[in-house]
């Protein structure tokens, strides 16, 4: 499959100013990041605060342009100003705070916003809005006002507003960070649905390990550089390295890691809670302790 996002050796820095507005140095947020995402993949980008993961995400639809290196979206360079709206239609972006992404006072009007901007005819807008709302399971709320909705519902409306554009890729910048556990689950289910059923490429920026564990591929970023890039099982096997850059590991991995430290020969590639429970059960019954 072809790469939908291709970042080649990108550097992003901004000048640091003193109180009089003189440049006293440069802050390098991204330091030579190369990343390509094949169409249809579900990639999670992990990193602690200030690692540059959000900055990287903003490069994927031309909100930020790299200081050095280049980003191409489906072969188009993001610095190409004539094609910027094509790029933004191809790569949609969902942000952390659902309240700050909803423009209109009625759910369906908000979902229609992007389509209105692109200049889609009204009948087609209607069709696509209904379709998008049904996909995120918010169709029954189409005439509600956003402030009547829960956080998870609002975030689903924000996602509907993006998928109405029919993007081939969605970049989500910590979409669950402000939600309660129920809302987080709703969003994760929606993300997986979009990826598995609709074939949309998903780049999920997150600091929740449990969410990253559900992706096809995990990229760990630290100090503006890619530290690890692999399938989740192999990423989370490196417990010590992750902890050294201020990241946690999923609870299952943590448990097995502690068991290994205690001298039990536990595997390091188990991620799901069910698998972990099965393993613990087999371990306990094998020793005849149960």
């Amino acid at each position: 499959m072809s790469d939908i996002i291709c970042a080649e050796d990108i550097v992003f820095e901004y000048p640091v100013l003193d109180e009089d507005g003189n440049e006293i140095g440069k802050n390098r947020v991204l330091d030579g990041v190369s990343l390509s995402v094949p169409e249809g993949q579900f990639v999670a980008v992990l990193g602690h605060n200030g690692s540059g993961k959000s900055t990287l995400a903003k490069h994927f639809n031309g909100i930020l342009l790299p200081t050095e290196g280049r980003v191409t979206i489906d072969g188009t360079d993001t610095t190409d100003e004539d094609k910027i709206y094509d790029i933004r239609q191809t790569v949609g972006m969902v942000f952390q705070n659902p309240d700050n992404q909803i423009v209109a006072t009625i759910v369906e009007e908000d979902v229609a916003f992007a389509l209105e901007n692109i200049g889609v005819p009204p009948d087609e807008i209607r069709r696509r809005v209904d379709e998008a709302l049904k996909t995120v399971d918010m169709y029954d709320y189409r005439e509600h006002s956003p402030h009547q909705l829960s956080g998870g519902q609002k975030q689903r409306v924000a996602i509907a507003g993006i998928i109405a554009m029919r993007p081939r890729c969605i970049v989500m910048d910590e979409p669950t960070a402000m939600l309660d556990p129920k809302g987080r689950k709703e969003i994760m289910n929606t993300i997986k649905l979009l990826n598995r059923e609709h074939g949309i490429t998903v780049v999920l920026i997150t600091h929740y390990m449990e969410e990253a564990a559900q992706a096809d591929r995990v990229v760990v970023i630290d100090k503006g550089k890619i530290l690890l890039d692999d399938i989740p099982q192999r990423i989370f096997a490196q417990v010590e390295l992750l902890k050294s850059v201020g990241l946690d590991v999923p609870q299952t991995t943590e448990l097995l890691y502690e068991l290994r430290k205690a001298g039990i020969d536990a595997p390091d590639d188990i991620l799901s809670e069910d698998d972990c429970a099965d393993y613990i059960y087999s371990l306990l019954t094998k020793d005849g302790k149960l």
Partner: protein
């Protein structure tokens, strides 16, 4: 307490008033306001009031709302009344003479007239927002003002700003409540003291509110850019405004009323000074 404000609120419904084209509703509302100012006697005012109550009943939003919408402007009405009561001098003997205060018959009638006029004005204008969704309202304003585009007046931007303002009112009210609670928890006294002390106590509420509003504005702008927003050029709309027979009938009714009021003005002599 902040949640009790009903001015500018929308009550969804499916009445004939709700279904009127929002452009017509704005024009008719303006006509109604002009009527209130043209009429110079109580008969005209009574006719306007009767008409308004009829429209309220038709809209099905409930007559209770009339009183609710008046509550925030009661002080304004009171001030108008008092000023008119004391400062209008009539020709006959004063009704009350007490020191330097004298109240004349004309003062009493004018202050009542003014109070009723302001009340009808607010009640009538509230009905517009009660029965018209903010989106339809801003859409209508955008369309009605669109001739001004030729004079490079930023009509679309104005409408967009209104939409966003309306969208964020509940969010910011909620946030204000939260900040007030947070500051109270830290020992801020927001409800005690005189007016000046109260105003000063609001500073620690306003500053975080402003900071957060700017942050929100920044994020919203980003999200709008991500959704290909580039101004009003080449934009389409999900909901098209459509005018039909009922809109023209409403226009006709209001026009007839207008003529009626002018006739009332001419045949019954004005008492206004």
């Amino acid at each position: 307490m902040l949640k009790d404000i009903t001015i500018g609120q929308f009550f969804p419904g499916n009445s004939i008033i709700h279904r009127l084209d929002s452009r017509f509703k704005i024009i008719l509302d303006i006509a109604y306001v002009v009527m209130l100012f043209v009429t110079s006697n109580f008969y005209g005012l009574a006719l306007a009031g009767l008409f308004m109550i009829l429209v309220y009943i038709l809209s099905g939003v409930g007559l209770k709302l009339i009183f609710k919408s008046l509550r925030p402007i009661l002080p304004l009405i009171a001030i108008t009344c008092i000023l008119n009561l004391f400062f209008i001098k009539g020709e006959g003997e004063p009704l009350v003479q007490w020191g330097f205060i004298s109240i004349y018959y004309e003062g009493v009638s004018t202050s009542i007239f003014m109070a009723v006029r302001i009340m009808f004005l607010i009640i009538g204008m509230s009905l517009l927002t009660y029965t018209t969704s903010p989106i339809a309202l801003t859409d209508a304003i955008e369309r009605l003002l669109s001739p001004l585009k030729k004079l490079h007046f930023p009509v679309h931007e104005l409408a967009m700003m209104m939409t966003i303002a309306l969208r964020f009112i509940p969010t910011l009210i909620e946030e204000t409540d939260k900040i007030m609670s947070a500051q109270k928890a830290r020992g801020a006294e927001l409800d005690t003291g005189g007016l000046i002390k109260k105003a000063k106590a609001l500073v620690p509420v306003m500053i975080p509110l402003f900071v957060s509003a700017f942050k929100r504005a920044n994020e919203l702008a980003l999200a709008m850019e991500c959704r290909c927003y580039r101004g009003g050029e080449g934009r389409t709309r999900l909901k098209q405004l459509k005018s039909g027979a009922r809109d023209y009938i409403a226009l006709l009714i209001v026009a007839v009323m207008f003529v009626g009021l002018i006739l009332l003005n001419n045949f019954i002599p004005s008492f206004m000074p």
